[in-house]
Structures are given as structure tokens and as C-alpha cells.
């Protein structure tokens, strides 16, 4: 049975923890809003990009001149998995969800005799995947120092991926990230980057199927566009991840705050009971002492 003083100390410490989790929740909420704004601001670009891409892909068609990033190497022996996770924990199952999806995918590929290479973006995914696939991880990108994810961060990763592809290091590249559905729902997603699956041509009302002049020619533009599209997809994934992380953190911290509140209530009840018991005990002692006289 803990003494009164112990109980008092415990209540104080839980209260301190509750204050911290509450503050973290508030910070996450503010960051979430900013991350959502950033994701929203980036949307027009990626939308137009895929519209244009669909357009050109149609024009070039299954031409032999189509860049290899789009058609692939014709094999699917070596897979590169780019796993994007958060840099910090304390956000519920957010990181482990992404890592689990990547892990299942890796196991499946390994079981069917493929070679797998993993590139980790973010510390948490690296920590989780290192346990099982330490030898498969060829690179990791650290974004811990980055306060606000800019396109240049994504572009760096994109360049790395393209550089590896040009060296013939892999045949298929898949990107793992978490799609931000809402504050409480983040869906871990796998997206194939290389060979680029051309977005389905969108039926455009502005008559986008009009005959275009290409300057320089269509395949040159496509060659310029595809690498850029990879960077854009990575950028979008990173932004969705940040928003998702903050959302997950917010709900995790909300839960933690509520749990701390429950704990405080329980401890306070306990404390009061014990105090009352002590008072009663002291009274009995006094009364029985007086009666004895």
C-alpha cells in the first residue's frame, strides 16, 4: 500500500506528463494545419503534371523512342523500395503501418526469388526495417534537419532514384508512404514509380486532345517530364506523410492526455480514501483513549 506522500508524488508526476502530452497535441494540431496547407498548395502542380503527362504519353504512344524510365527495362528482377516514414515517433501506429506494408511486400518479393533493395527516407522506417533487412538497405535519407519540406528535398531523392536506374541498379521502383485521408485515418500506400504507369488519360472538357505542337519534340519533352514527375510524386508523398504524421500524433497525444486524466482521477480517489482512513483511525485512537480514562 503506497503511503499518502507516494500517492501525492505520483499524482504530481502524472499531471506533469499530462501537461506535456497536451502541449504536444497542440503543437501537432498547429503543424497539421500548416502541413495540410502545404499539401493543398502542391496539389495544382501534381494535377496538371499528370494531365500533361497523360496527354503526351498518348501522343508518343508505345513508340520505341519512349524513355526507359517509362517503359522499364523489360525485367522485374531487382526491386527498389523507397520507404518514406516520419523522423520521430510518438505518433501511434503511423510509422509501423508503413513499415509493415513495406515488410510484407519485401517478404513476398524475396519469396518469389527477386532481389530487393531498400532506400529509407526518415529515421523511424530505417529503425524498424533494419531489424530484419539490414543487408538490403542501400541508402537512407535523413530529413531530420529539415524544418519545412521543400521541393528540393524531394528532388534530391528523385535524382538518387534516377541515378540508380541509369546505372541499372534496379528494374522496378515502388514508393511507400501514407496517404492522408483525415486526421484519424492514414492509409499506407504503395505506388509504383518506375516504370511509370502513365496516368489514365482524363477526358478533358477543354479539348485537350487537340493536336499539339511540341517544342522540341514530344519524346524529348517526355524525357524531361518523367524524371520530374518522379520528383513530384516523391514530393507529394513526403507532404502527405507530414500531414499524416501530424494527424496521427495529434490523436495519439489526445489519447495520452485522456488516459492521464483518467489516471489522475483514479489516483486522487485513492488518495482521498486513504486520507479519510487515516483521519478515522486517528479519531478512533483519540476516542478510545478518552474512554479508557
Amino acid at each position: 500500500m503506497p503511503s499518502l506522500k507516494d500517492l501525492k508524488n505520483r499524482i504530481a508526476s502524472v499531471k506533469a506528463t499530462q501537461k506535456i502530452t497536451k502541449a504536444m497535441k497542440m503543437v501537432a494540431a498547429a503543424k497539421l494545419r500548416r502541413a495540410q496547407e502545404a499539401a493543398e498548395a502542391a496539389r495544382p502542380y501534381s494535377q496538371r503534371m499528370s494531365a500533361v503527362l497523360a496527354n503526351i504519353a498518348q501522343a508518343v504512344g508505345q513508340d520505341d523512342s519512349a524513355p526507359r524510365l517509362m517503359t522499364g527495362t523489360g525485367k522485374d528482377q531487382v526491386h527498389l523500395l523507397v520507404v518514406c516514414t516520419a523522423e520521430r515517433g510518438l505518433c501511434g501506429g503511423f510509422n509501423s503501418q508503413i513499415a509493415r506494408l513495406a515488410r510484407d511486400h519485401t517478404r513476398k518479393l524475396l519469396a518469389s526469388g527477386k532481389t530487393v533493395k531498400i532506400m529509407c527516407v526518415g529515421k523511424k522506417g530505417f529503425d524498424i526495417l533494419r531489424r530484419e533487412f539490414a543487408s538490403l538497405i542501400i541508402d537512407r535519407v535523413d530529413l531530420r534537419e529539415v524544418k519545412r519540406i521543400g521541393f528540393s528535398n524531394a528532388d534530391q531523392i528523385g535524382r538518387k532514384v534516377i541515378g540508380l536506374f541509369e546505372k541499372g541498379e534496379f528494374d522496378v521502383c515502388t514508393l511507400f508512404y501514407s496517404e492522408f485521408k483525415s486526421v484519424i485515418a492514414q492509409i499506407p500506400t504503395a505506388l509504383q514509380l518506375v516504370p511509370a504507369s502513365a496516368p489514365a488519360a482524363v477526358a478533358d472538357t477543354t479539348g485537350a486532345t487537340a493536336i499539339y505542337d511540341y517544342e522540341p519534340d514530344a519524346s524529348a519533352i517526355l524525357g524531361d517530364l518523367i524524371p520530374r514527375n518522379i520528383s513530384v510524386q516523391i514530393f507529394r508523398a513526403l507532404l502527405e506523410n507530414v500531414a499524416g504524421e501530424m494527424g496521427a500524433k495529434m490523436s495519439a497525444m489526445d489519447n495520452a492526455t485522456r488516459n492521464a486524466g483518467e489516471m489522475i482521477n483514479k489516483l486522487t480517489l485513492n488518495y482521498n480514501r486513504q486520507r479519510q482512513a487515516q483521519i478515522t483511525k486517528e479519531l478512533i485512537e483519540i476516542i478510545s483513549g478518552a474512554e479508557a480514562l
Binding site: 502542380y45 496527354n55 521541393f151 505542337d213 519533352i221
Partner: protein
């Protein structure tokens, strides 16, 4: 009086310009081009340079862009820039940094094709640098 059309300047981070304009000069890879209303549908890549926008109300604005491409249809023009800033907000150190980075890339480039690409980019950058410096 020239007709107006819709112009949008988008960078991955945000939408910079969206509105009705009468004339836009874009630095296409194969030379600058002026886009006006009812332009033939064209798709072009752009090089680092300055985009001059003349709004419907006669106001003029200039933006520095670094690579990207433009999608032109008779009723509008969309410029997807890899990175874009307003001329007034443009920081000269930024371009110097890009030149440095390109030079570093050049020294590590292996294939001739790569070298050629980077050298072209470098010369475009220096041209741009020269164009903005006196401003």
C-alpha cells in the same frame, strides 16, 4: 486591343499566378516566345529565365523560373515551373548557389550526354545571372 486569356504559373510548392492576362513572354528552351490569346496548342519545355506577365489591367510582373514546361492552349496557358519566384523576392545568392551546384555536378558527371546537359544548364544559368544582376 488584344484578347485576354487565363494564365497560371505553378511551382510544386504553390500556385503563384492565376488570372486573366493579355500577354506572357516565356523562356522556352528553343528561344523566348510570346504567348497571346488564341495561340496554337503547344507544349514546350522552358529553360531558366524570366517570365514577363502582362495582366489584363495593364499591370506588368516578372518572375524568375528555373526549368519546367508550359502547356499552351488557345484559351489559356499553364506554366509548370520547377521553382519560381517573383523578381523582387529573388535572391542573388540563390543563383550563385545553383551555379556552384551545377559545377559540382559537372565535375562528377561521367557520360558525355550528362556533361552536355549540365553544361547547357550552366550556360543558361549564367545568362540569367547576367540578365538579373544589373537590375
Amino acid at each position: 486591343m488584344a484578347d485576354n486569356f487565363n494564365f497560371e504559373l505553378v511551382s510544386p510548392e504553390r500556385l503563384l499566378v492565376s488570372g486573366s492576362v493579355s500577354e506572357v513572354v516565356i523562356p522556352a528552351t528553343e528561344g523566348e516566345m510570346t504567348v497571346m490569346a488564341n495561340h496554337a496548342p503547344t507544349m514546350t519545355t522552358i529553360k531558366p529565365g524570366i517570365v514577363t506577365v502582362k495582366f489584363a489591367d495593364g499591370r506588368k510582373d516578372r518572375y524568375v523560373v528555373f526549368g519546367g514546361f508550359a502547356d499552351i492552349v488557345p484559351t489559356g496557358c499553364t506554366l509548370l515551373a520547377e521553382s519560381a519566384v517573383h523578381v523582387d523576392e529573388f535572391n542573388r545568392d540563390d543563383i550563385a548557389r545553383r551555379v556552384e551546384a551545377a559545377r559540382a555536378d559537372l565535375s562528377t558527371a561521367t557520360s558525355d550526354e550528362q556533361k552536355f546537359g549540365i553544361e547547357t544548364y550552366l550556360s543558361q544559368l549564367t545568362t540569367l545571372q547576367g540578365a538579373i544582376l544589373p537590375a
